[in-house]
């Protein structure tokens, strides 16, 4: 790694958690991340370990308790919402509020950081929206209402919205949680393609460990000890994955490159 290699996301001694007037709840501390552009990253960890909290902190939804986050070498604290919206886009797990938005209108909302005060779309904006729909293979859905879509289609449309936002980073919180295996694989390969073909930096929190092992360039393993990050192959090599689950039920099989059920002794 040369010094000129820019870190697209970097954290130094980051502490995440929640603070209220009464008390401070620390979820994880001393998180150090150095991520280079164009990678597909999968964030793995047990339920409740703090994956969502980490993503919420990285995306400025909630403040860091301590330490600093740098997005494209700028401190997150110094970025306004609008600045950040041109660098980082989101795909969330939360249900969309009821509305009669069409797929086109939904994806078009991704252009908001670039449009004028009343949100007028230029010809260029429309081209970018159509390109995003094409890249996610959802162009045929353009005029459908979003509530008519299946879960798999909606997920692709939400990814199209993030693409239309034209950011170098896309962060997705459990994007395949409601999908069957076909649509899960489809979503993952789509994201992989976006990373390799278009140099997007994509961070996914997921429980699809086997897919992550096959497709991710880098893994972030979150355990109660903290965060281990590294190239997927290296983490497999050094057997780091074994520490992911604090359980005697399963273990990581290095030769099979997957988790297997431990045989009872």
């Amino acid at each position: 790694m040369t010094a000129s290699n820019k870190h697209i996301i970097k954290t130094s001694n980051l502490t995440i958690g929640y603070s209220t007037k009464k008390k401070v709840t620390t979820i994880a501390s001393n998180l150090n991340i150095n991520l280079e552009a164009g990678n597909l990253v999968c964030l793995l960890g047990e339920n409740g370990i703090g994956k969502s909290t980490l993503l919420r902190t990285l995306t400025k939804v909630q403040p860091a308790l301590n330490g600093a986050i740098f997005i494209e070498e700028t401190n997150l604290k110094d970025l306004s919402n609008l600045d950040l919206s041109k660098k980082l886009s989101l795909v969330l797990t939360e249900k969309l509020p009821e509305s009669s938005l069409t797929v086109f209108e939904l994806v078009a909302l991704g252009r908001q950081p670039y449009t004028n005060w009343i949100g007028q779309l230029s010809t260029k904006d429309v081209e970018i929206i159509q390109l995003a729909l094409k890249q996610t293979n959802t162009l045929h859905l353009t005029n459908a209402k979003y509530y008519e879509l299946s879960d798999g289609q909606l997920q692709k449309v939400l990814i199209a919205r993030a693409l239309a936002q034209n950011t170098s980073i896309i962060i997705l919180d459990e994007p395949t949680a409601h999908l069957d295996i076909h649509h899960t694989i489809e979503t993952f390969t789509l994201l992989k393609e976006l990373a390799t073909k278009f140099g997007k930096t994509i961070i996914i929190s997921t429980h699809e460990i086997n897919l992550a092992l096959q497709l991710a360039d880098e893994l972030w393993l979150m355990t109660s000890q903290g965060l281990t990050s590294g190239k997927t192959s290296k983490l497999i090599e050094t057997n780091q994955l074994n520490s992911l689950f604090n359980s005697e039920l399963i273990h990581f099989d290095k030769s099979l490159k997957q988790f297997t059920i431990s045989k009872s002794k």
């Binding site: 919402n81 991704g110 159509q130």
Partner: protein, 343 residues
């Protein structure tokens, strides 16, 4: 791939034509029969056979029709803003207790005059006093509901909190009423029936000025309101200043609801029902289309309600509030039953 650009021009033209028709219909109906031709002549200030007719049309019916338009538009826009801000299809100025807040402001002014003593009474009778008190009242309740809404994310809870605030203000009004004189009570009661008449041209000017101010503010939040359709987190990730958007919505809604309630009394269901009917007609959630559409539809429906309240060719006028409830409540029930979802 052809992008189906929906053309809303046609629907807008139909709406505008309906507005003109119902406006003329509204002006031509009343306790005294005046031929349509004479009304149109009177409106354009031509020579009319009967001076009395001219006075009736220009000083009574025309101000009332214009008030109906402002009231219908303003309440409907308020309702639409509430529905988007609270992510709740059942939100509206009446449901969330904002109209009750305005009522409380007015009640304190009219009924509480004896507590506050002396000159408030003279102030209360000036409509500016009413407008100020009502706007403050609605602003207060809306802020309280909004504070609760930030803490409580569940939309059903927010509705219940709004209803509770409505009950609280109603209780406070009852306490005030208990200690008030009969004449004060009567004055408050008549105000609470709602009335579109009785406004002088000067008062309509005041109403119109504040209405314009409220609507002017709304124009600047059309874009962030659209992104709020995806929820607050997405809106924030799109660079929206949520706090500012919320505050502008808060101010413009309390201005609109407050001043309208002050001049015409609390009017139920317009703010809740009209946005739904409009969304049904236009099949869009885009605020750039919806805001003007809701404004025109609200005006039309208010004109119709007022025409019915007139009980054409009779001497009686029904309370406008009763008519809007008779019209609005069944529509909401019908919408809930007919479609599983309402947006």
């Amino acid at each position: 791939m052809i992008l189906k650009q929906k053309n809303y021009h046609k629907t807008f033209i139909y709406l505008a034509i309906s507005l003109v028709i119902f406006f003329i219909l509204n002006v031509s109906l009343g306790s005294v029969f005046i031929p349509l031709k004479q009304i149109i002549i009177a409106l354009f200030d031509g020579k009319i056979e009967n001076e009395a007719w001219k006075t009736i049309v220009l000083n009574y019916r025309l101000p009332k029709a214009i008030t109906a338009i402002i009231v219908g538009s303003g309440l409907s826009i308020s309702g639409l803003l509430m529905q988007t801000l609270f992510r709740n299809p059942l939100a509206g100025p009446f449901v969330l207790g904002i109209s009750s807040g305005a009522s409380l402001g007015v009640a304190i002014l009219i009924l509480g005059a004896s507590f506050l003593g002396i000159n408030t009474l003279a102030f209360a009778f000036s409509n500016w006093g009413l407008a100020l008190a009502a706007s403050l009242g609605s602003f207060l309740v809306l802020s309280a509901v909004l504070l609760a809404a930030i803490k409580v994310r569940n939309t059903m809870s927010i509705l219940i909190i709004g209803l509770m605030f409505g009950s609280l203000t109603a209780a406070l009004i009852s306490v005030l009423a208990y200690f008030s004189s009969a004449s004060q009570l009567q004055q408050y009661l008549f105000w609470s029936f709602g009335s579109l008449g009785n406004l002088s041209w000067k008062e309509i000017g005041a109403l119109f000025t504040i209405f314009c101010l409220g609507v002017f503010l709304v124009i600047f939040i059309i874009k962030p309101l659209n992104s709020l359709l995806l929820g607050e987190n997405y809106a924030k990730s799109l660079g929206v200043n949520i706090k500012l958007t919320r505050n502008i919505t808060l101010i413009s809604t309390s201005l609109l609801t407050g001043v309208i309630t002050a001049f015409s009394g609390p009017i139920a269901f317009i703010g809740l029902a009209v946005p739904h009917l409009t969304k049904l007609l236009f099949k869009t959630s885009n605020h750039k289309i919806l805001i003007p559409a809701v404004a025109i539809s609200g005006a039309i429906i208010m004109l119709i309600c007022d025409s019915i309240a007139q009980l054409p060719n009779s001497e009686y006028t029904l309370p406008i509030n009763a008519i809007t409830s008779l019209f609005g409540a069944p529509i909401i029930i019908w919408l809930l039953i007919r479609k599983r979802k309402i947006y």
